[in-house]
Symmetry: C2
Subunit: 463 residues, 2 copies
Amino acid sequence: MPQSRPSPRELLMNASMGDSPSVPSAFRHWFEDARKSIYTHVERVPLASVTGWHCDPDAPALTHHTGRFFSIEGIRTHHAGGPVEHWDQPVINQPETGILGILVRRIDGELHCLMQAKAEPGNINGLQLSPTVQATRSNFTGVHRGKSVPYLRYFREAGAHRILADSRQSEQGTWFLRKRNRNMIVETAEEVPAAEGFRWLPLGELLGLLRFDDLVGMDARSVLACLPFPPDAPASPPGGRSGTAPLLSWITEARSRIEVTTERVPLPRLERWRRDPLAISHESGRFFDVIGVRVKAAGREVAAWGQPMIAAHGTGLVAFLVTRVEGVLHVLVRQRVEPGFVDVLELGPTVQCTPRDHESDSGTGRPRFLDEVLGAGPDRILFDTVLSDEGGRLFHTRSRHLIVETGHLPEPPGYRWTTPAQLSALLRHSHYVTMQARSLLACLHALEHPAYGTAEAGRGEPS
Amino acid sequence: MPQSRPSPRELLMNASMGDSPSVPSAFRHWFEDARKSIYTHVERVPLASVTGWHCDPDAPALTHHTGRFFSIEGIRTHHAGGPVEHWDQPVINQPETGILGILVRRIDGELHCLMQAKAEPGNINGLQLSPTVQATRSNFTGVHRGKSVPYLRYFREAGAHRILADSRQSEQGTWFLRKRNRNMIVETAEEVPAAEGFRWLPLGELLGLLRFDDLVGMDARSVLACLPFPPDAPASPPGGRSGTAPLLSWITEARSRIEVTTERVPLPRLERWRRDPLAISHESGRFFDVIGVRVKAAGREVAAWGQPMIAAHGTGLVAFLVTRVEGVLHVLVRQRVEPGFVDVLELGPTVQCTPRDHESDSGTGRPRFLDEVLGAGPDRILFDTVLSDEGGRLFHTRSRHLIVETGHLPEPPGYRWTTPAQLSALLRHSHYVTMQARSLLACLHALEHPAYGTAEAGRGEPS
């Protein structure tokens, strides 16, 4: 490892890369250099004047004039027995399945990842680290009229290489309607040079960069989460509480029991949503706005365009409570029902909310375990960083990522202690683990990587 | 095993249970006895006079007056690049997820299954063997106004027992729109007496009954297919052609590439479908009819009712080509796109068609491998029995089930050699293996069961 080993304390900080001594200087120079040639200038514009889009105030949906890319539509969700039984909202509809792929290669025995410095209009800080390939089908069929996608052939002809991960995974089901991307990790034995704007990073170094705010992008975290965790020690007795059969049965039971349906509703008829020239917003001021932007970009396929985006209100919070059971790390996951999921529910973080929406709530009105994670002392906080959501559709939308150690708590209905290896096994398949939980799993990979190993920090094992 | 071991030759026959010496007489007496008290009388009636249903000629869909149970609706399917790119058809819409459950118990070391003799209106021969529980949600919420479902608690409180299988599996995607049932096998340690119409059968005996025409029902076969096959010998090198990662990647690639969508169309506007008083039929005379029946039943929850049903034209054919690779049985599965599937495609039989529709076809017009399976000599036919489709919705609808041994053939696009253990691993999850392939897997379980072991018959291994 070329970098110095950071102290556990350093790992706990929301750090700014610019002044951290633990960022390898070669990476820092490359990234700062990329910033000069790869950037976007983004300007908010009235919705009705988004170039290339049909965004009239009475439009049932916001659509591109080609009918491609994506659209903003209205949906009404029915979830009988849920905490809210019916609600309306706008949602991003992008039915095609894109590819998010990281090309990896073993160099001197260590896995290296080919990462891209990419500017997206929604990024709060311009440049973030993206997978080798981040391509919608429009990208590879040429609707963008842009350049061909570098390195795409390694993923489209993945059978010629070694496939470490290849499954379709959901995006956030509160913002995207049944959107999924193909998350791929492909190992090549070829010596593949890094093109301009790309860099081979040792896996340990890349995972270490997760502790800097808004540096490793959402798509990169989604794919990194699909790296398998080492298998658990020999399985517990079959049929036992912690085995895979009961875990799958728990998911099957809930997916069979819960009925959630969505129907399309024209945007102007969404209840409790209002449109003004600049945004479609909820009357409570909560949730998110649909806004319009004009983008000028250098270093990506097309130089200037307009588009609508979703801008969340307030910084989100996503958190895992973790504990050790007989020495094995366990993560408390929660079944989450979201309207955009393909299959009823997926497993999400222990806590997921926008804390400022709950400032005046008390007692049972507060999200479960919110106080547990926000009130944890520094010795129990294993990870604490603010990371960005995907900047191609989401504008300045970010979540604080917390991993907090706790004792063994009983599981309320809908919650379950699982091991990272069990979640890895689910991630070989589609639609089991939410984007937010995957993002936290990428952070857990950083904690468990031998270069850091700070999951030891607050473990409190007998010495 | 109480029964005599059948000869391989006997296993090849389409047998009628009545005169077969290999049916244990205790089972035969019980089953013939049950026939006296459990039966349905079914009469075809004009669609417009199905009791309790809205089936006017101009009805956009055929619906029950309560709005429950199921409906017959019209859909238009678009499958860009498929063999047929657009088509219309009626389809059964039953969105709720029911339970198909077999309760099992070890008696003197052998697994026994609690099976039910059940009469369904569509059964060609009245009584067939069903799972312990075969319940729609309407059954357990009481919409049927019928008796409570026996043994249901073992499945609704499965966590108190040992769960051997619990996943949602599709029904036929050409007849059912996104219908799935929860397929469960639950092992109890309790001594559970068999109620009237139920019987504990040793697994070997039950599997042996699969070789009799129309005896083991579709739902029972669906659940039996979820019994795990023994794992393969230690995995081949990771990333190899036959590993699980390439198999999953093959499915992910196709599901990401293929775009298939359905939209609702009112029944009277379905192109190429016609309605006369007795049926909705395709103008070619192929595929299936939607018909109406009046049912009088004894031995089930409700004594008399009317309903629409689907009646397929001609006996279907479903077939697996199998081969041995280095001593390990392999099955040639095919990716099938059907409009009713939840997730684009599932893995189906090597061959699935209605042979009489292809009598006048020749050369490339004939389904691939159809001649290979129909032309196989008796020494290569490991299994050959006609089995019924689900008689609650499908009227006298049956398929010949063939398992044919072959040499190792190259895989055309969309086909792949897999092991039964790999298919078992997929069956722990939902929506990977079609109903027809599961039905054949149940037959493969019969061949591989130590009580029969006739997969040896035509194996032609060096002696």
